[in-house]
Amino acid sequence: MQRPYTMPDRRSGRPAFLLPVLALALLSSLHAFAQQDTSRSAIRDSSLLRTLPDTTTTQQDIRAGSYSVEASDLDADIAGQDVSGILRSSRDVFNATAGFNFGAARFRVRGLGGEYSTVSLNGVPMNDLETGYASWSLWGGLNDVTRWAETHTGVSASPYNFGGISGWTNIEMRASQLRRGTRLSYAFSDRTYSNRAMATYNTGLMANGWAFSLSGSMRWSNEGYVPGTFYSMGAYFLSAEKKINAKHSIGFTGFAAPSVSGRAGLAVAEAQTLTGSHYYNPSWGWQDGKRRNANVSNDNKPVFILSHYFKPDERTSWNTSVLYTFGRDGYTALNWYDAPDPRPDYYRYLPSYYSDSYPSIAAQLANAWQNDPNTSQINWGQLYFANGKNLYTVQNVDGVQGSTITGMRSRYIVEDRRADPTMITANTVWRRTLKDQLTLTLGGSFQSQKTHYFKVIDDLLGGDYWLDLDQFASRDSDNPNAAQNNLEEPNHVVRKGDTFGYDYDIRVREANLFGQVEKKWRKFEGYFGASLTSSTFWRDGHFRKALFPETSYGDSPKQSFMPAAVKAGGVYKLSGREYITANAAYGATAPTARLAYLSPRTRQAVIPDLATEKFLSGDIGYEVRMPRVKGRATLYYINTTDGIWSRSFYHDVYRTYVNYAMTGVARQSSGVELGAEVKLSPTWQLTAVYADGQSIYNSRPTATITRDNSDTALATNRTVYWKNYRIGGMPQRAASLGLRYNAPKYWSLGADVNYFGNIYLDPNPDRRTVEALGNLVEEDPQWNDLLEQTKLKDGYVVNLFFTKTWRLKRKYRIGLNLTVNNLLDNTDLITGGYEQLRYVPKEIDKFPPKLSYMYGRTFFAMLTLSF
């Protein structure tokens, strides 16, 4: 029976200012925000009354979004820093404050992800071609040389590239541009790392035409804030530049930030309650008296840039660079074959799994969770024990008839999941200012990227070998060969360091041309820009998977797109100190390979009807730069359509692992950004920042559900009633109020209060379908249980900081920085999490959301010597 009409879209409580070209005053729109919809279909706070367990590894496999974020040192983080890093390096009051103070709550500029922001080094675009976003961890720990990045929020003119609709950042690593001097610092903290040592030496441009910059750092901790995490990260940087003559300079920059760190995993509320900690980490367990983490990331991706700076005359510059990066990117995880799930928080190991049917078992389990670390954490000893006695004979080893191996076959292993990138980029930008205040910028880039995905055995955990089979494949098929991951080498017996499981490259090539005109008049400055991109990606499989012998091996068909975009904007000067700004962009972006492939580990199938995503973005703002008051107010509106979405997870209705793909995903973000810095007196300074927006899904996407093991469609054209659901995983409202006292004797003391609200968990699309509702009537409470979006509690934190500077012999400067974050030790502020994609329609509590909390009170102390 079809009755989609019984599912009304949620009312968004849409404010009045949503049109991109708007001229309404700020006040009226702010008023609109206050009008919250309170009707029944408004999003209810169902928050965390739900306490039950999980299973799927899907989300854990999605790299982004599953780690802790830290406020003070976002570069320490691997994901989630895509946007916050941008904010942090900005000098705009709003951006700087949002970066430092909102980053801890995963605030996103204008509700957009990092793929909508362009990051460049020396003008060379650094966004990963496969995922779309730039990884700030590539230069993590090189704060001294990346500190002075140039950042703009939203659509704007850029001398480097077209820019993203969320903004753009360029980090200049030219040795001649880095401030001459030496800087040594040591920091001590109880956050992700406990120690940080940093040293930087810049020569500036020397008389002989050379300039050098050297920087290095180490950050480490045996255990971070979250139990079982550890951190060991180095970073080194070398930049050299030679001024050949007045017109030509050439430069070389090379850096890397090798890192090894033990990660924190998200958990369900029940596990957090049982262990009495919001920072419960299921990723580790005791082994021989030491904490061992199963999820260890190990990255080392050096970057090399060769640049030519050409300045034929005072008004013209032509900079050309070639960038090359390669290396390893990997993280370890447990894997197992035909054995009980080794993860301690698997949903069947939690008391709630038994609480209805066997209360006594539930009580026993609860007791074990509270008292036995081998229950609440990974029981490594048991894994070794199981492996050490699993005698097994493999027939026809590696496909050789008659060859057999008998030995201890590992049931559990630690595998290293690799995504080793290689990228080469050539980039050139020509820029000339003509006499009549007209500046012309033309640029082009070509990028070629290969990301090699494969797994290697990291640790056999006491066994002799691992047999490379797909255990889920053999269950669905009576074909004895179905389980083979690679028919070219069936029954592959692998040992430490051997490749297994999957092995393929994702290759992307992108060429871009852009042009921009900037024109200045007496009261008005304006710009116009256009961009054309040619993007191609494909998959090159190195394993012939038995389930997909025809579509897993070799080059896949190429997916090509040619999106274009235009932008325009201007500043009107009300006076020398007040400005009105307006910007807009319209265009398209190519779908990313990351989302386009349904299940790239097994086959080359892509989402049906792949199309470019279209965007429309605009903002209008008022900026003031008075001697005692600096600030801005901006209204923005962003609309994207024809987006795609794909994930894989275990579907409890189809009782199989599925690839879930959606097309026609539209998002809309609108809101206001306010930032002001007021000098109350020569010594007192007040900072106020407020961000309030509404980021929602703005369409009913069409879903296709495909069986992962056979590439057969289980459902097509399924309508997802997603319209007006909030985009989750970030505060949609944030505010900060800070007061700072700057003593004349080179010390200062300050505090700020930061508020976060309107945080939602991202909605699981399949729960919002007619199929999920089944025969439920609207009066049934389960109707709402399925549809309601979880809104998390609002919260606030207080931070305190103190700085002091000494000068010695007029040459040496010593600085002391002390910061206490979350002074009131608020450990109840949920900053991240997700609705599990696995769900049982009439037992929605069976797979509750996984959550992460903001750290409690932490400190950071740093001593700096510079000269």
Binding site: Y201, M218, Y236, R292, P340, F385, R475, D478
Partner: protein, 432 residues
């Protein structure tokens, strides 16, 4: 000026190198000392099952208590027909094992089960060792150990044999010449779509029936039942008051021959292998396409069952002078064919068994021309009673006419009377 800079440079150049060395390495964990499972007082499966006296037996690790049983896994979970459940067997019997978690034990694994922590109790008449952890209770001794199925008849699936306390419960059994009931025609083994378990009826030509139970999760659940007749191997489990057969490997169900009552085509075959495993003790042998007859007396070759061993037997009835013929199906001659068989005798007084070939046999022994096969070793005076004697491999090209092409048969002829009353048996007749 420049000099100072360079000095600084030298010192700083070493920095990156140090950092690489300091951070490039990842901590490796040692393999911890491996725990072992204790070994102690051993029982056989028959002894273990006998420990059940009406109440569940909880095994403990008390010193001296029974704690170990050795067995071979006869059916595992690999094909999805069993879940958290396997069957093991030793020379005294077999038992079902209920696992705490699925996986890890495979058919052919020779295992030692450490009993403490497990419970011995029946479920609906099926004795089982419950709560067994494949990791904590089991040590594998060897892999790839094969257990021969016990050849059984459907009418032997009685409570006395396979019910609770029966010596054969949970054993790997093989039925010859069985078929799925006509009422099940067109059905699948189970419902693969809804993953529901289904019962199907297996029957022999005498109308005896048994239940074949298959899980909807089995990888053969969606296959249609075979429509022919042939051998079936599986586990003879028990539920309530009747046996339930579980298929452990779909390739062990070869119901491809003509159904009961259908006239066999008896087209000439290129080779032959007959182990008489479907014969019934004391009843005249009636194998498809074979001819079993007599030209003197009133009895022909009959089935013999000794333990698990079935064969064809020529035995006089009340000392009546008899000549019995057991003739193979028509065989297509090729020069490389060899004949072999085993023979045994009981109470020797004279040699009465001879082997013959004929190229013009059409069903009547008397009207065919027979050539004797010499060179076969046949159980004789010197051999022990009831002991199988291999014939050796006899090249048929040396016996049939030179240059022969066409079809032929082999006949086992027995002659005896009151004074020459030796009983002979034959088994494992092979022509290939």
């Amino acid at each position: 000026m420049l000099r100072t800079h360079c000095n600084h440079l030298k010192a700083l150049l070493a920095l990156p190198l140090l950092l690489v060395l300091a951070t490039g390495c990842k901590k490796e964990f040692d393999t911890p000392p491996v725990r072992s499972i204790p070994q102690g007082s051993v029982v056989t499966i028959a002894q273990l099952k006998a420990m059940y006296q009406g109440l569940p037996v909880h095994f403990s690790d008390t010193a001296g208590a029974v704690n170990t049983v050795y067995a071979v896994v006869t059916a595992d979970e690999q094909n999805g027909n069993l879940y958290k459940n396997i069957y093991v067997q030793d020379h005294t019997g077999a038992i079902a094992v209920r696992l705490l978690a699925s996986g890890g034990l495979y058919q052919g694994d020779s295992i030692r089960i450490y009993l403490p922590g497990t419970v011995l109790s029946p479920y609906n008449g099926l004795m089982q060792i419950d709560s067994v952890s494949a990791d904590n209770n089991v040590v594998k001794q060897a892999t790839g150990v094969s257990v021969a199925p016990r050849t059984t008849l459907i009418n032997e699936l009685t409570a006395a044999n396979f019910g609770l306390g029966g010596p054969l419960q949970s054993m790997l059994v093989k039925f010859n010449d069985v078929e799925f009931a006509a009422s099940d025609t067109g059905l699948t083994y189970a419902n693969a779509v809804t993953q529901q378990t289904m019962n199907r009826t297996l029957e022999n030509c005498g109308g005896n029936t048994a239940v074949v139970r298959s899980s909807g999760y089995a990888n053969f659940a969606g296959q249609h039942l075979p429509t022919g007749k042939g051998p079936f191997t599986g586990i003879a489990s028990w539920f309530g008051s009747a046996a339930q057969l579980y298929i452990r490997d779909i390739n062990e169900v070869q119901l491809t021959g003509p159904r009961c009552g259908a006239t066999p085509s008896c087209a000439p075959v290129a080779s032959l292998s007959e182990d008489f495993s479907s014969v019934v003790g004391g009843q005249a042998i009636a194998l498809d396409c074979w001819k079993n007859t007599y030209t003197q007396g009133s009895v022909a070759w009959r089935g013999n069952v000794t333990g698990n061993d079935r064969s064809a037997e020529a035995r006089l009835s009340l000392g009546q002078a008899s000549t019995m013929w057991l003739v193979t199906p028509q065989l297509i001659f090729s020069p490389s064919l060899h004949l072999s068989f085993s023979s045994a005798k009981v109470n020797w007084v004279s040699n009465g068994l001879t082997v013959w070939v004929s190229t013009n046999f059409t069903g009547d022994v008397a009207s065919a021309t027979w050539t004797q096969v010499n060179g076969a070793t046949i159980a004789g005076q010197a051999d022990a009673d009831n002991t199988w004697v291999p014939s050796g491999s006899i090249a048929l090209s040396g016996i049939l006419p030179s240059g022969f092409s066409g079809n032929f048969v082999v006949a086992f002829k027995y002659q005896g009377d009151a004074a020459n009353s030796t009983t002979f048996r034959i088994d494992n007749v092979q022509v290939n």
